[in-house]
């Protein structure tokens, strides 16, 4: 019997594994029923490369202007032992941080090994109160997804206040007059919630991590930071529930042949040599659950979208529900044109027929 690790390594093939991060975990929770994504993320597959090689390059990238701006803002916040941040926490959030102690957990004595860094993070965060400090830069957390450990390296600072830890998330989108882009705030809240869970795991889950996280962003149109508290209790519930729905990876692997692999067969310049069609058919062996929402969260979305052509789900969850949950557009249209429905679709068929008749009556064209 193969170990799960070695099977996942075979699925991945000869490429370096990619790590989970809070972003991929929160994206995973957006579509927990997708076996394709669950398996690929567990195996640490570079989905972007895979998508490009099969002729479906991912529709997103990040502008260097945005990256530069984000990095500059984060650096500015953390500069001088996070002096700006400390002022902000005192002034904006009225927290009585008396003593500031900044601990850099980026590496351990020059060693950046994950396990070592995680152990060190744990040591520092669980030290007796007098010895553990207040702010921690880049702690390395560990989180269990689909029965496997994933290391999370938040670019954030866990901050301790009255015996409780607060997760701090630094983002470079602006808060203008106390308001920010709701989609961006939602994404940040989801990521913070992942960190809260991981941090609770590390501390033994006895409520030492506060459900209020702190979002630090530029204020208005300036570089000055501002902070806002975000209550992530709702996100915590969502993530816990969704993660419990993701099948354990062992069970998932059992459904596929032993020789399943998404190996790209890279040459010495890391250029993939595996025939694209062969790779695509390997991908197709693992079922996906496409939803238009994937277009903004998953690198493989264009491939899955093509596969989902002809389904009502490809038009959106709401459309599918409006059409009475019928799986294919063809079936829905047949019923609208008077085809005899199966017993379970009688109700939907009546509505569809009626809708089609109204449309014909008003537009004067047959449906």
């Amino acid at each position: 019997m193969d170990s799960v690790e070695s099977r996942l390594a075979r699925v991945r093939g000869r490429t370096m594994p990619r790590r989970y991060d809070a972003r991929t975990i929160s994206a995973l929770t957006a579509n927990p029923g997708c076996a394709r994504r669950a398996l690929m993320d567990a195996a640490g597959i570079d989905k972007q490369k895979l998508a490009a090689h099969t002729g479906y390059p991912a529709p997103f990238g990040q502008s260097e202007f945005a990256i530069t701006r984000g990095n500059a803002f984060e650096a500015q916040i953390k500069d001088n032992g996070a002096a700006q941040l400390l002022t902000l926490l005192r002034e904006v959030l009225a927290l009585d941080v008396t003593e500031a102690h900044y601990t850099d957990l980026n590496e351990v004595g020059g060693n950046a090994d994950n396990e070592l860094r995680h152990v060190y993070t744990k040591q520092r965060l669980t030290a007796p109160p007098g010895h553990r400090g207040t702010m921690f830069d880049h702690p390395l957390l560990r989180f269990t997804v689909a029965g496997r450990h994933a290391y999370l390296e938040p670019d954030l600072i866990a901050f301790q206040h009255r015996g409780q830890f607060h997760v701090i998330e630094i983002k470079s989108f602006a808060i203008v007059d106390g308001q920010a882009d709701p989609a961006k705030v939602a994404a940040a809240a989801m990521q913070s919630a992942v960190y809260v869970l991981a941090l609770s795991d590390l501390l033994g889950g006895n409520g030492q991590v506060h459900h209020e996280t702190i979002l630090v962003c530029p204020r208005d149109f300036s570089n000055e930071p501002t902070a806002a508290k975000i209550d992530v209790r709702r996100q915590l519930t969502v993530i816990r529930r969704q993660l419990s729905r993701i099948a354990h990876i062992e069970q998932l692997l059992d459904e596929y042949p032993d020789d399943l692999t998404f190996d790209l067969d890279p040459d010495e310049h890391q250029r993939p040599r595996r025939p694209a069609e062969e790779l695509a058919s390997a991908i197709r062996q693992v079922g996906a659950s496409y939803d238009p929402q994937c277009l903004s969260t998953c690198e493989l979305c264009y491939l899955c979208r093509d596969e989902a052509q002809g389904t009502t789900g490809a038009l959106g969850k709401a459309v599918r529900a409006d059409l009475g949950g019928i799986e294919y557009t063809r079936q829905a249209l047949d019923l609208a044109r008077g085809a005899v429905p199966t017993a379970d679709r009688e109700e939907a068929a009546v509505m569809l027929l009626q809708a089609a008749q109204l449309r014909e009556q008003i537009l004067g064209e047959t449906v």
């Binding site: 502008s63 945005a66 701006r69 530029p218 490809a314 459309v319 557009t329 829905a332 249209l333």
Partner: protein, 495 residues
């Protein structure tokens, strides 16, 4: 979403072409709208990069910021934009309207998508408080532009307003495509379904339109690969030329940047006018002019406020203003829903499917029935409508026929007989003053009619306290407007 729209999407997917979901246009469209296509620098809240703007499809004004992080250039951009927008708006303030009437027309702004409205809102916010004298002075037109953009973006919060319109929203409201709403947010892909390239299906056309090289995103966010592969080098060339003091090279670098940005804007500009043409092809709904009148009133009010030297819109609404706005938005939405259903049988069909409206033929009529039970005899004709549709309304309810808005119909009886339902209705109003109905004012036997419980009845405007009377439970009266002091001004402009 609704069943009829979902069905239209399925049809579009099957036929490869967008399907109409409205029979009329539900939004006002100006004879010469001002189209505004802005781009901003990625990663910044509101750093304008470039824009195409104008009311002449063949001759847009191109605006460029060569160094988007430079404060002076940013406000030069705002001044240049003001030259176009403010003078366009001013063109509508003559002649003066008679007292108690609004301007006869109002300027209409069209942008590609809701994100562009968000950009206009932020640009308005970042310019309306600027001072025109002192250390960080800007041109006089800059805060004025800010106040206009703020006015327009605030009005756009009302679903009934057409002063500032997003093209993707209005197109997706009139056509159903064979793709998802998420994909409809891409202007090029949406238009590809409605007006596919010659010899191509909408589906294939839309796929081609997703290629950011051929169809750059409609903004305001630029295509990241354009940023990384083109814009970065161009901006660097400008910086180098500036640093070395090479005037020739600077001119060349600026021209190259402008040319590159133009390639990102022009396809969207063309698409915007294609959208305008498609919308012009639809005849206007009956109540559109009524809603536009509200817009004209709002415009008239804003012009008056500016002339009276009123303070710019506050950073955030006070408690009273928020409550009043919310009440107005709810009222607007309700009125819009009713008006659209009355103007458009395809919209009304949704209500028929849901049992909130029914259509049928008049099977029986008693046009001269007089009710003598009260002190005075009243003309109360009865008609019997026979319908094959579901009737949810119960006896006692009042329904209205969109073709006879001035006439109420009370449901007297609902009898289901086999597949048909017979509804007895008692009519009142719209029949003249005597005890004999005016000719044609009572539906005749055989006439096809739709009745619905949906009505745009009079509702008193809720009363709110004056601003100065804001109760302490709501934070008390909001502070008076104070122009920004130097320090604040500077802090906001560093980015």
């Amino acid at each position: 979403m609704s069943l009829l729209t979902a069905l239209a999407r399925a049809l579009a997917a099957e036929t490869g072409r967008a399907q109409p979901i409205r029979t009329v246009r539900h939004v006002h469209l100006s004879d010469r709208p001002l189209v505004f296509v802005p781009l901003r620098l990625a990663g910044e809240a509101c750093a304008p990069l470039a824009a195409l703007v104008g009311d002449d499809p063949g001759n847009p004004v191109m605006l460029t910021v060569h160094e988007p992080r430079d404060r002076t250039q940013r406000f030069d951009f705002a001044a240049a934009l003001a030259a176009v927008i403010v003078s366009y708006v001013d063109g509508y303030t003559m002649p003066e309207p008679a007292l108690g009437t609004p301007y006869s027309d109002a300027p209409q702004l069209l942008v590609p998508n809701p994100q562009a409205i968000g950009f206009a809102r932020l640009l308005g916010r970042s310019t309306r408080f600027r001072r025109t004298e002192g250390e960080f002075a800007v041109k006089e037109s800059v805060p004025l532009l800010g106040r206009w953009l703020s006015f327009y973006s605030e009005r756009s919060e009302s679903p009934a307003s057409a002063l500032l319109v997003s093209m993707t929203a209005v197109l997706a409201d009139h056509w159903a495509t064979g793709q998802s709403a998420a994909e409809d947010a891409n202007l090029a892909a949406l238009l590809a379904w409605i007006a596919p390239a010659p010899g191509m299906t909408g589906a294939a056309s839309a796929r081609a339109a997703e290629d950011p090289i051929r169809f750059p995103p409609a903004g305001p966010t630029t295509d990241p690969s354009f940023d990384n592969e083109v814009l970065r080098t161009r901006v660097n060339a400008i910086r180098v030329a500036k640093a070395t003091g090479d005037g020739e090279a600077l001119l060349r670098a600026r021209a190259a940047t402008e040319a590159a940005l133009r390639t990102q804007l022009e396809p969207t500009w063309e698409l915007m006018w294609l959208g305008v043409d498609l919308l012009r092809g639809l005849s206007e709904g009956a109540h559109v002019a009524d809603r536009w009148k509200s817009d004209r009133w709002a415009f008239t009010g804003h012009v008056a406020r500016l002339r009276e030297g009123g303070a710019p819109q506050p950073r955030r609404d006070g408690a009273v203003a928020s409550a009043a706005k919310l009440a107005r938005l709810e009222r607007d939405q309700q009125r819009l829903d009713v008006q659209r259903a009355y103007d458009d049988p395809l919209v009304m069909a949704e209500y028929r499917l849901a049992g909130e409206a029914f259509a049928g033929a008049v099977a029986d009529a008693w046009p001269d029935r007089v009710d003598t039970s009260g002190k005075r005899a009243k003309l109360r004709p009865w008609i019997v409508l026979e319908t094959a549709e579901r009737v949810m309304a119960a006896p006692g309810a009042t329904v209205t026929c969109p073709d006879r808005p001035g006439q109420d119909a009370e449901i007297i009886d609902v009898t289901v007989a086999g597949r048909a339902t017979r509804v007895t209705l008692q009519l009142s109003g719209g029949m003249g003053r005597s005890l004999v109905a005016l000719p044609g004012s009572v539906p005749a036997v055989g006439e096809e009619l739709t009745y619905t419980a949906l009505r745009d009845g009079f509702e008193p405007v809720p009363r709110f306290p004056d601003r100065e009377q804001t109760p302490w439970t709501h934070g008390g009266p909001p502070p008076e407007y104070v122009p920004a002091v130097d320090g604040e001004d500077a802090a906001e402009d560093l980015s």
